[in-house]
């Protein structure tokens, strides 16, 4: 645990000591605000709710989260520091969890900085704070799931760009599993039970549950086990690939 903290601190500091952090935060804030106000037209809806804000998160994260996570292992492998890291008395789990949590925390900080949105709707009317709270939780978990996928692909390639592209594609696939179009398409030739089971694996479906104002334990377990699974796969890939 102690070394997990050391890795986490190092990574998090690394984000804030490079321009990446500020570029990411600014773009994230501009993009969420832009989508909410100019595309969803929050003011025109005349509803004091942040639905118009959260609905964009799966799509913005799709590009922003892989951008944050792509360097985690690619860089480490490319520069050879992975050899240093794994000959220090750090376990594989500590290293993987440390890096993941650092990036997740960083995204969390960016997410917290969207608080003016809450202030805005609070000023305009009386929103349901419960829904806003669970939506934030859902958004954070969704980011974590994206990030775990990104970590996995980051471990697969020394090239950050390749890691990024693969991660975006994989996240997109995980998202679309639950999209209406895709489910309808599956219903065409699969029994409804199976297509529903498939859509139950979608990021989207579970993210939506949180937007209804409840913390569904199934969705909570889904995100946590998804993260756990991806990070386990990350560990396996690292063990296989670290020598290359």
């Amino acid at each position: 645990m102690r070394n997990l903290k050391a890795v986490l601190k190092r990574e998090l500091k690394g984000y804030f000591e490079s321009p990446v952090a500020y570029v990411f935060i600014i773009i994230f804030l501009l993009a969420t605000a832009g989508c909410t106000f100019f595309i969803s037209r929050l003011f025109d809806t005349r509803v004091a709710s942040l639905d118009a804000f959260f609905v964009w998160h799966p799509w913005l994260y799709l590009f922003l989260v892989p951008a944050v996570g792509m360097r985690l292992w690619s860089e480490e492998r490319k520069s050879g520091t992975i050899e240093l890291l794994f000959t220090l008395p750090i376990t594989l789990i500590e290293a993987i969890a440390g890096k993941f949590l650092a990036a997740w925390l960083f995204i969390g900080i960016a997410l917290l900085l969207t608080f003016p949105m809450v202030v805005t709707v609070a000023y305009l009317g009386s929103p349901d704070y419960g829904i806003i709270f669970t939506s934030y939780i859902g958004s954070f978990l969704l980011a974590g799931a994206y990030l775990a996928v990104t970590c996995l692909f980051s471990a697969m390639s020394k090239n950050q760009v390749i890691s990024f592209v693969l991660a975006v594609v994989a996240c997109f696939a995980m998202l679309m599993l639950g999209a209406g179009v895709f489910t309808d398409f599956l219903n065409g030739f699969l029994p409804v039970g199976i297509s529903e089971a498939i859509s139950a694996f979608s990021f989207f479906t579970h993210f939506q549950n949180f937007q209804r104002g409840l913390i569904d334990s199934r969705s909570l377990i889904y995100f946590i086990s998804m993260i756990g699974f991806m990070l386990t796969a990350n560990a396996v890939v690292l063990e296989m690939k670290k020598a290359e």
Partner: protein
Amino acid sequence: MIAVESLAKSFGSIRAVDSISFTVNKGEILGFLGPNGAGKSTTMKMITTFLPPTSGSAKVANFDIWENPLEVRARIGYLPESAPSYKDMNVYDFLMFTAEVRGYDGEERKNRVVRMLETCNLKDVAWQLIDTLSKGYRQRVGFAQALLHDPEYLVLDEPTDGLDPNQKQEVRALIRRMGREKCIILSTHILEEVEAVCSRAIIIGNGKIVADGTPEALRRRSKLHGAVTLELFGADLKDAFADLEKIAGVERVELLTDEDRPSQNARTGKNGKESENGMEKSVNDSKEAEDSKAGKYGDGSDKTGKSSLRVRLFPKKGVAIAHEAAQFVHQRKWEVDAFTLEKGDLNEVFYNLTRGGQA
């Protein structure tokens, strides 16, 4: 003690390390020698638990690299090849990170880092990003990181790589000093380094150990070992060459030209004869042309008509000829400019062993 037992590593169908066994004790500095791609680094990566071996095992301080990797890592200081470090950190932060991971807290952590900055002459660049440092400084950062916890075991992959000659000397002195209380394995392809630093050398070729012994013992395997190199000066050296062959115990005599000075290749007798003729010619030439021009002849003839001769006497196997040669030269009343008893050439041994030849 580091005990390596039939350690092997394959990458696909390539056998990078093929059943290597050796032990290194405290107070020993083991030099790993071998051409690039011979398996030096791979062996070190296995000992430091970075790579799992395909078969075989290694123990560091009686901890198995496979069963107790963390115990092994805690006891080893490792400088990987080309000294990787986090380039987006400054030197101080980087060392503070390794100190934290090594289990140091508070004042102790800071003190250790500061001490390392001093030991490795990094004080001036402590606040610079590692990215902006030169190769030599980065290498020292790698060193600082490896020595920070004062480990009992040191594994250094090409520790002097990228350093300038002065820094090389410093690092070698540091390694020698540490070698008294520690158990050190270092890899290098600089042979003089082995002679300067190591108490023992292992030569690896194609993943196998091809030689294991003190640098002294390895040198003894050289053809050159026991040979006597003479630089004679005198008026009457024309017959000296043939004369020298009469010394008891001498197998053959070889003429040296200036190109031979680094003494890499033992020439064959035939070549020697040829150069001898060439030599005689230039001696005659210089006798005719008794002017300053003669000085330009590579063989060292001068205007007095005297000339110099550089020859090397190779002994018959196991025979010591130094004494005989000295006496012989004395009897002939030749002036001797240099008389060297060759210890043997590690380069040659290395070349022969790693090319599959016989040393």
